[in-house]
Symmetry: C2
Subunit: 320 residues, 2 copies
């Protein structure tokens, strides 16, 4: 018998949009969010956690919606001065956003865990939903390219995703341990596990690569459903479609289904991709066709409700 909690796995912007919808569709005590920490890195000695922070800012209504990262109403005095005194300026840090990085780094250096400081900051911002970094140990997503291996933010921000991708490595993953709060939640038989529409290679794969975590997710008994981040052959945001092509797979929701085959019970695809539904079903999973493009809060809530409803209908229906 499951409880009625929903565990969502999320990367940055796209994932956070669905998480925000879930937070409006469900009481706070029914939702937990597991965030990717593979994007995390040190810059000027500050620990930056882009995906976790995007979820924090989105759930506290501080996120900048146009820019897609950082805080709304941000100012840039720090960056201006950093350029003036000769520091690196390829990674933008807003003045307000910096407070989070500075406080977190200080807490970590004094012995706090990433999950503890994430909880502390979430509490201060009035966020009621647990935001759970996938693990407390540092993991670094590396992007392999013909010119060599790049740290993820170097690929993503400094090189603007221009290099061709040949593969990925999650450095440190072998020493990672799943966030204990995630382990505990999985032992309590969550009702549904949702993979948000995040990049499968660099946002979701690191989470699933934490030793034992994907096993625990499957063994929890909850149906696992993903929302395709590919719509009409394109990623709505970020390099997912480009990566797929470079890795030799068509950028399509069908390929997303193939990617998650054997792990997920159902896939939500966009209405634009409705024709792919039979082929996806042939892979041995359920399909839900829904509007997945989230332009406003109503879209987010609607997709959250559709995804939860879809997953709920799968409960217990699949031998795990």
């Amino acid at each position: 018998m499951s409880n009625d909690r929903i565990l969502a796995l999320s990367g940055g912007v796209g994932g956070a949009k669905l998480v925000l919808g879930l937070s409006h569709a469900l009481p706070a005590e029914r939702l937990l969010v597991v965030t990717n920490t593979g994007d995390d890195f040190d810059h000027f000695g500050l620990r930056i956690c882009p995906d976790t922070d995007t979820v924090i800012y989105t759930l506290s209504d501080l996120a900048d919606r146009e820019r897609g990262w950082g805080r709304a109403g941000e100012s840039w005095g720090f960056m201006e001065a950093m350029r003036q005194i000769g520091g690196e300026d390829w990674f933008n840090l807003g003045d307000r956003d910096l407070a989070l990085h500075v406080l977190r780094t200080d807490r970590l250096n004094k012995g706090s865990s990433l999950s503890a400081v994430t909880a502390e900051i979430s509490d201060a911002l009035g966020i009621k939903i647990p935001i759970l970094p996938m693990c407390d140990q540092p993991v670094a997503t590396m992007v392999d390219t013909p010119e060599g291996r790049l740290a993820f933010q170097h690929y993503f921000v400094r090189e603007r995703c221009a290099p061709t991708v040949t593969g990925f490595e999650f450095e440190g993953i072998e020493k990672a341990q799943p966030n204990p709060a995630v382990v505990a939640a999985l032992k309590e038989n969550p009702a549904v596990i949702i993979i948000a529409p995040s990049n499968p290679f660099v946002s979701v794969a690191p989470i699933l690569a934490v030793p034992e975590l994907s096993n625990m997710l499957r063994k929890s008994g909850a149906p696992i459903v993903a929302v395709s981040p590919i719509v009409g052959g394109e990623a709505l945001k970020g390099p997912a479609a480009k990566m797929m092509k470079e890795l030799g797979m068509p950028a399509s929701a069908l390929e997303i289904a193939r990617h998650y085959r054997g792990f997920i019970d159902g896939l939500v695809i966009d209405e634009m991709d409705a024709e792919l539904a039979p082929a996806i079903a042939d892979l041995g999973m359920e399909v839900e066709v829904a509007p997945t493009i989230m332009n406003d809060l109503n879209d987010r809530i609607e997709l959250a409700n559709r995804t939860v409803g879809f997953a709920a209908r799968l409960s217990g229906g699949i031998e795990r």
Copy 2:
């Protein structure tokens, strides 16, 4: 035989004003500034160097003249966000000022010395005058009070100098070594050594307490002159007068002369204190009476010229 270089010892605001005057009165290659690092401390894991930074900002024309610390045209988004996420907010850090602390801390953590990173940042800001932290090793000025020992910034900023002072300790001073660039400059026989009108107990005393440094200053052969930070029985800025009273000495330029007796060759006092000149001369030092209140740049340049001229007249005139 001396070269024609002038070495100025400086704390924060008052000292930096005279240093700015010196920088206008002299070619850059004739001036070196030694800064107090006893005020330096770690806040959120960032290394903050208030006196050195005040000199940097003053010489690069970035200083806020009204506030007396930090940069002009500063913004406070970082502090606002820090309060919002529950961080300490007793020490104000401007958004632009933060860039300096973040870059410096990163450089120090990666193995740079404080003097190297100070030179790097000074260069980037176009400062031609060497700004030399008194030492590269951390020294922490502690303020003893009846309620216990306080770190200097806790006394100065958090407690707004309210506690009664009973004494000072410069923690770490026994392991400090004089900045090698200062040692080299002293071996080259500077023409004049100037103690800027900074707090004698917490700005100048730490510099003079660096092992061997006061001996080296005396043995350099250059006349040492101080500018009294006490004018008309009051400090123009900061707690110097309050400290003197609490330590049981009258707050007066005469007491400043007694404090530096045996170390300096001459003292510049304000016209307001002209009546004290004979008593100061009786202590065995030369006295220059000059306008020492520096309201504008002209005042700073004028006092710089008066002080250098005074010291030059003492050159070789005193058995050392």
